[in-house]
């Protein structure tokens, strides 16, 4: 039996390379990607039934990947994603990739946040970020826009989660707290707090994004395309409708 020298077909080589890249780009095709979030219901829930949970899962499904969502505090979520402990983090304002160089933003907004002041004192009127200075303010650790904007207040208390934030307000240890309007309303309702109101107008409105660790950068574009496709084909709207307590 004779053995002959064969040269590999270039096309076959390219195919094998592509498969290798996909396999190395993440565990999308094997192990589910681990994404963390600090959001609360109705955006996210431990059961994975929140709006963002469902959108993200669908988007990943569309690109052929599986995803697992865990809950972490805001700052811990960023750090974990940045250090590669987790594969990604959501939802965040744009520009965090400057502070966390290992994060890659998926360039398609998942939703928007209205950063609103909640207080028990109906007499308080807030006009912009400067209007917070005379008050004892509470925020969630890791909300970068708030940490940057809110400075020079009488006091600033940072807590790890939304529940603690609103407990802080409810017990009078803060004059007001700044949080997302949608999630704030949901928390107040969930905790059965009364006398807390959301001041209008909101302090800022920001599009919110999904961030992936740099090693999954190859998925960002495809995910963005999948999200746009979901917007276009009405999938997002259908998901929003399916989540209780969430307006379209």
């Amino acid at each position: 039996m004779q053995c002959k020298n064969r040269t590999l077909n270039p096309r076959l080589l390219l195919r094998l390379l592509a498969i290798g890249i996909v396999l190395c780009s993440g565990s999308a095709y094997g192990k589910p990607l681990l994404l963390n979030t600090f959001n609360t219901y109705p955006l996210s829930s431990p059961q994975g039934t929140g709006y963002l949970d469902l959108v993200i899962k669908e988007a990943f499904r569309r690109i052929g990947a599986d995803v697992k969502i865990v809950r972490l505090s805001s700052e811990r979520g960023l750090v974990n994603a940045d250090r590669g402990i987790d594969d990604g983090d959501f939802v965040r304002i744009a520009g965090l990739d400057k502070t966390y160089p290992n994060l890659v933003r998926v360039p398609a907004a998942l939703c928007d946040f209205e950063f609103t002041v909640f207080t028990k004192d109906p007499s308080i009127r807030i006009e912009g970020w400067q209007g917070l200075k005379p008050y004892n303010v509470g925020i969630i650790t890791g909300w970068k826009i708030l940490e940057r904007k809110i400075v020079g207040t009488r006091s600033l208390t940072k807590v790890g989660n939304a529940t603690a934030l609103f407990e802080l307000l409810a017990h009078g240890r803060a004059d007001l707290v700044v949080f997302d309007k949608v999630e704030g309303d949901a928390i107040i309702k969930k905790l059965g707090l009364s006398g807390i109101i959301a001041l209008r107008p909101y302090l800022a409105r920001q599009d919110m994004y999904l961030y992936l660790n740099r090693r999954h950068a190859g998925l960002a574009r495809r995910l963005a395309e999948a999200l746009l496709e979901m917007k276009t084909d009405g999938s997002m709207r259908r998901i929003a409708r399916s989540v209780a307590g969430l307006k379209e």
């Binding site: 865990v70 750090v79 402990i85 940072k158 807590v159």
Partner: protein, 871 residues
């Protein structure tokens, strides 16, 4: 006052207080230090426990705060940790970035610990940061020092209080009583020895009472001992006086030398006298000053003195002879004995000196005298032996040992009779020994002794008894002469003298008989010449002549024995002689006798008369044949032998030189010693009467002696006999001293001849014979007459025929006078004596004409004619 002050300073209480305080202080310090060290260790381990506690309690909260990035909580937690004991600094660091801290970080005297802050997340440990803790050990030290200082202060105060209390108590209970006792001791003396020490104390039977009791007991013993010592001191003083007297009056001179002071520290009167120094002077000196450097033992005193002092101090008693130098410059020889004196730590040596100058001189003289005699005895060529009364050898000299072959060790102590006497003489000599011891006689005795090899030596002894100083006999002293050789030589001489005497006798008889025979033969010949043929008496005359020839042969044999036979020696090869005679000898023996001849290799040249040698061999073979009537073997052999001193010593005869030995042995009857002694004597025979002349071996003896040889015979009864003849070997070039003279035919003459002969018969025979042949004869009856007759007829006499031995003047003397008258006149000597006698008389000078009697007329005529016709 100063003493008082010192006493106060030295009081026991003060010293006790000082020492208690010092000791307590040191103990306190030690325990405090130990306590400090333990405290420090506990606190240091407390730091570890604190850190463990932080780990156990605080880390969880830290991890939670850190996980949630709750910085306020984190800061609160860190602040809380910082407040733990000795933790001066706490911080949380994540990836090198300080997240939260509390306290002041230090660089020195700190213990640091880092605790990893991890959280289990999604199935794996996530590193959240590190808790960095710093504990300040300086704080630990500070706390420990503060605590220890306090403890030390309290303990020191306690010790001081207790010490002062003890001091007060000690003063009350002890020192007060000690002061009382001290006062008592100060005033204690021999006079107050009976007053006891009493202490006034409320408590009894304590140590002070025991001390006081013990002291009182000691006081009593001391009092008793004092009394005893007083007595002992008196005794010592008495003893000292006695020994001093003994020391001073000792017959020896005595000095006592102190090694440490290096001088004499004592000396007695005899020492003063001996050294001629006063005691004061003597005690300023030492041994090195009293001894001159050169000493009798050959060693310098400077070398030996230290050694002797060392030996003596080591306990040895040293005795030696020493020359001492007296102050007057004289040197005396002393016997010195050195002994170490027991004197505690002092190193004292007692030396006693006995002046032995005169004694040593006497001993020396005695020694040399004894040595002289001993050397004499040792070197004298006589046997010197001393025996004790039991006959054991107590002395023997070298000559004796050399003679017997025993060593001195073997000889001394052994019994003389058992070791040195032959068994057969032992008892006899023992009785002689007893007689000497008892009666001091016999003083001279002769007996044989036995050497180590068993040989016997004959010794003549000169004995004397030995006595001790008390006059008791303690043994014998004997000088002996070994006369073995002497006796043997005596025997040989005796034998030689005997043979010489016999020879002389035989020679004399033969001479006279020869003269008679000359006359008989001469007249018988004359008668026969004048008898007509057919005369009936002619037969008788011929019988007379034949008998005369036999008689002539007999006389020749006698002359051969007595060496008076004229021989004609010349160089001859002995081997040729024997080989030439072999056939003739074989005819002499019978058929039942076998004869073997074995000659040595090479020529054996001897200066000998061949006929005489042949005669000798024939006689020996005939003798051997007759000794073997039943047949047997005869062996003849020759060998070259060199006689040396050893040979001569062993055989008792000989003269150094090379010899041809002829050995003739037979297996015949042999002979006993008595026969052997006489076999060479003429007419001695063991054969039956008429069967032998007894002259055969006598001839052999004479021939051998005439050839300057030696003969020996070895024989035992029944064991045959062996004759050994030694003839001197010569070189072949030895010139002939004599040649055979061929006798010419008988021829007469007309010359005038002077015939001098004291024997009238021979004179007349010769006169008549010569006249018959035409000669004119003048007769002379002796030597003087011959000289006188020659003076009268000096012009006519042309030849003198002269008897060699004559009365008044012998032939030579007469001829000397005649020759003085006429030197050209010639002479023929006639003699019946052998050549040696003729030589002795001076007749046989070279060129001398000589005829041995009896001479036949023809021979005489031929000789006369030959001389007259000679040049």
């Amino acid at each position: 006052m100063a003493d008082e002050q010192r006493q106060i300073q030295n009081r026991i209480g003060r010293r006790l207080l000082k020492k208690v305080l010092l000791f307590s202080f040191v103990v306190t310090i030690i325990f405090t230090v130990i306590q400090a060290w333990m405290d420090y260790s506990i606190r240091m381990s407390g730091i570890n426990e604190t850190i463990g506690q932080v780990k156990k309690v605080q880390v969880r909260g830290l991890i939670t705060a850190l996980w949630n990035y709750d910085m306020q909580e984190l800061a609160a937690e860190v602040e809380g940790i910082h407040h733990f004991n000795y933790l001066n600094y706490a911080a949380v660091i994540d990836r090198g970035k300080l997240i939260a801290q509390a306290g002041q970080k230090k660089r020195k005297n700190v213990i640091t610990r880092e605790i990893a802050l991890t959280r289990d997340y999604n199935g794996r440990q996530v590193m959240l940061g590190t808790l960095y803790l710093q504990a300040d050990t300086a704080l630990v030290v500070r706390d420990v020092l503060a605590r220890i200082a306090l403890i030390f202060l309290f303990q020191a105060a306690t010790v001081a209080i207790v010490a002062f209390f003890l001091l007060w108590l000690f003063g009350r209970m002890v020192t007060r009583h000690l002061s009382i006792a001290a006062s008592y001791f100060r005033s204690f003396n021999v006079a107050g020895m009976n007053a006891p020490l009493v202490l006034d104390k409320p408590a009894k039977d304590d140590e002070l009472d025991t001390l006081a009791g013990a002291f009182n007991m000691m006081r009593e013993h001391l009092a008793a001992s004092y009394l005893q010592q007083l007595c002992a001191q008196q005794e010592i003083e008495e003893s000292e006086r006695r020994f001093r007297v003994l020391f001073e009056q000792a017959p020896d001179a005595i000095t006592v030398y102190d090694q440490d002071e290096n001088r004499f520290v004592d000396a007695n009167e005899n020492a003063e006298r001996l050294f001629a120094l006063s005691r004061e002077e003597l005690l300023k000196t030492g041994p090195r000053q009293i001894y001159p450097d050169a000493q009798p033992d050959g060693r310098l005193i400077s070398e030996s003195i230290s050694e002797n002092i060392k030996l003596t101090l080591a306990g040895e008693s040293v005795a030696l002879d020493r020359l001492i130098r007296c102050a007057d410059g004289k040197e005396r020889l002393c016997e010195v004995r050195l002994v170490r004196l027991p004197s505690g730590e002092r190193r004292l040596i007692r030396a006693s000196y006995i002046d032995v100058t005169e004694r040593r001189q006497a001993e020396k003289a005695l020694f040399y005298a004894e040595k002289k005699f001993r050397d004499l005895l040792e070197t004298i060529q006589l046997i010197a032996v001393m025996l004790d009364c039991d006959g054991n050898v107590v002395f023997c000299n070298d000559y004796f040992l050399g003679l017997t072959g025993w060593s001195r060790d073997e000889a001394l102590g052994n019994n003389w009779f058992d070791m040195f006497l032959p068994g057969e003489n032992r008892e006899t000599v023992k009785s002689v020994f007893k007689s000497i011891l008892r009666d001091n006689a016999p003083l001279h005795y002769e007996n044989p002794i036995v050497t180590r090899e068993g040989a016997k030596r004959l010794v003549i002894w000169d004995n004397s008894v030995l006595r001790n100083f008390g006059g008791d006999v303690i043994g014998t002293a004997s000088l002996g002469i070994d006369v073995t050789e002497h006796r043997r030589l005596e025997e040989q001489l005796r034998q030689a003298q005997k043979m010489e005497a016999i020879g002389q006798l035989a020679g004399g008889v033969a001479h006279d008989f020869n003269n008679i025979l000359c006359a008989i033969v001469g007249y018988a010949h004359l008668a026969l010449m004048k008898m007509p043929e057919g005369d009936p008496v002619r037969g008788n005359m011929e019988q007379i002549l034949r008998a005369s020839e036999r008689a002539t042969t007999l006389t020749r044999s006698l002359l051969s024995f007595s060496r008076k036979q004229i021989i004609n020696p010349r160089p001859n090869n002995l081997t040729d002689i024997i080989r030439g005679l072999e056939k003739f000898l074989s005819r002499l023996i019978r058929e039942d006798i076998e004869m073997k001849i074995k000659c040595g290799e090479g020529d054996m040249m001897i200066f000998a008369d061949r006929g005489q040698i042949e005669q000798m061999l024939m006689n020996l073979v005939t003798n051997a044949r007759d000794a073997m009537p039943g047949g047997g073997h005869i062996a003849i052999g020759t060998v070259k032998v060199r006689m040396d001193e050893e040979f001569i010593r062993m055989h008792g005869y000989g003269k150094p030189g090379a010899y041809a030995a002829i050995v003739v042995s037979d297996t015949g009857e042999g002979m006993d010693a008595k026969t052997k002694e006489r076999i060479f004597e003429p007419f001695f025979t063991t054969r039956e009467q008429g069967k032998g002349t007894g002259l055969g071996l006598s001839m052999v003896y004479g021939i051998v002696k005439q050839h300057e040889g030696f003969i020996d015979v070895d024989s035992e009864q029944g064991k045959g006999a062996e004759f050994r003849i030694y003839l001197p070997l010569v070189s072949a070039a030895v010139p002939d001293r004599q040649r055979d003279i061929r006798l010419p035919e008988a021829e007469g003459g007309v010359e005038t001849l002077l015939v001098a002969e004291d024997d009238e018969a021979i004179r007349q025979l010769n006169t008549e014979l010569l006249r018959n042949y035409g000669y004119r004869i003048i007769e002379a009856v002796d030597g003087e007459d011959a000289v006188a007759k020659f003076r009268q007829n000096m012009d006519d006499v042309q030849l003198i025929i002269m008897d060699g031995i004559m009365p008044k003047k012998n032939g030579k003397e007469a001829y000397e006078e005649i020759r003085a008258i006429n030197p050209s006149v010639r002479v023929i000597y006639l003699s019946g004596y052998a050549e040696d006698i003729i030589s002795r008389e001076g007749l046989l000078e070279p060129g001398t004409n000589f005829i041995l009697k009896p001479v036949t007329p023809a021979n005489l005529l031929k000789k006369v004619r030959e001389v007259l016709d000679g040049d």
